[in-house]
Symmetry: C2
DNA sequence: CTCCATCGTTTACACTCGTAATCGACTACG
DNA sequence: CGTAGTCGATTACGAGTGTAAACGATGGAG
């Protein structure tokens, strides 16, 4: 009997910080083998190849990356766009810390002097464009 | 013998999301008893008083809140300012996702239409002030 | 055909987080 | 004086994370 399997609405599972490092490698260039990912990230983070493999598996489980067999090994490709990831992460922060309003975040960054003159110029340009 | 205890440079321990909810209550008004904190947060989050007490203990351990005995019970007060917390959290995000530059974050928010006209006006005002 | 390097998979293990139940001390009520 | 409520402290426990070793298949070098 085929009973209704209530497919979970597939809300995108959270990607952890270590996992993100792996995603960054794949966002930069893909598909990659586990080896290649390791060449990108093992050095900076001091990881072993095994660690990368674990992270890749978890990302596959989370449906964040896709695998494609290539002979003996696998090629890994991101299934979610970096911009999407960045989007939900920034939104989370803005919600959590600034009641969902972006302006206070901006105000905070400004006050904390986290804005370089370049940033300011860039933002001004963006604003001009937004208003047009 | 008194040997050198290498006091760890007391890098501020991370505050988790649940813990933040408790901090928010204390930032709004303090000092508070565990009871009072619970009155603020247990409803919205569906927590038990015990949960709040656990979170408070952890925050005390993390040196994020201070305790002051008040007869039988304790009064809890934040030891870190909300603006500091907000600061490090936003910085983390900007570092993690935008290479430390604030402008790309702004660009992203703009593109994602996460900016209301009000936000834009507010930011313009801020910019004007920054330039003066 | 054998053996080693290499894959992906499975298992491991300590630590944090979310969410509490339980415990021992104390106090206020009867 | 006993006892029920209340406090903070201790313990619990499953899920997720960071980090990896161990395992089993397999393909290529002799």
């Amino acid at each position: 009997m085929e009973w209704d399997v209530a497919e979970k609405p597939d809300q995108p599972e959270r990607i952890s910080e270590a996992e993100q490092a792996v995603m960054e490698a794949l966002w930069q260039r893909s598909p990659l083998t586990a080896q290649e990912v390791c060449e990108e990230v093992c050095g900076p983070r001091g990881w072993s190849l095994n660690t990368v493999k674990t992270l890749l598996s978890r990302l596959v489980a989370k449906q964040a990356v896709a695998t494609e067999p290539d002979g003996k090994r696998f090629l890994y490709t991101p299934r979610i766009a970096r911009s999407d990831y960045v989007g939900t992460e920034s939104r989370r922060l803005v919600d959590r810390l600034f009641g969902g309003r972006a302006a206070p975040l901006f105000a905070h960054l400004a006050q904390a002097e986290a804005l370089t003159p370049d940033d300011i110029a860039e933002i001004e340009a963006l604003l001009k464009e937004l208003k047009s």
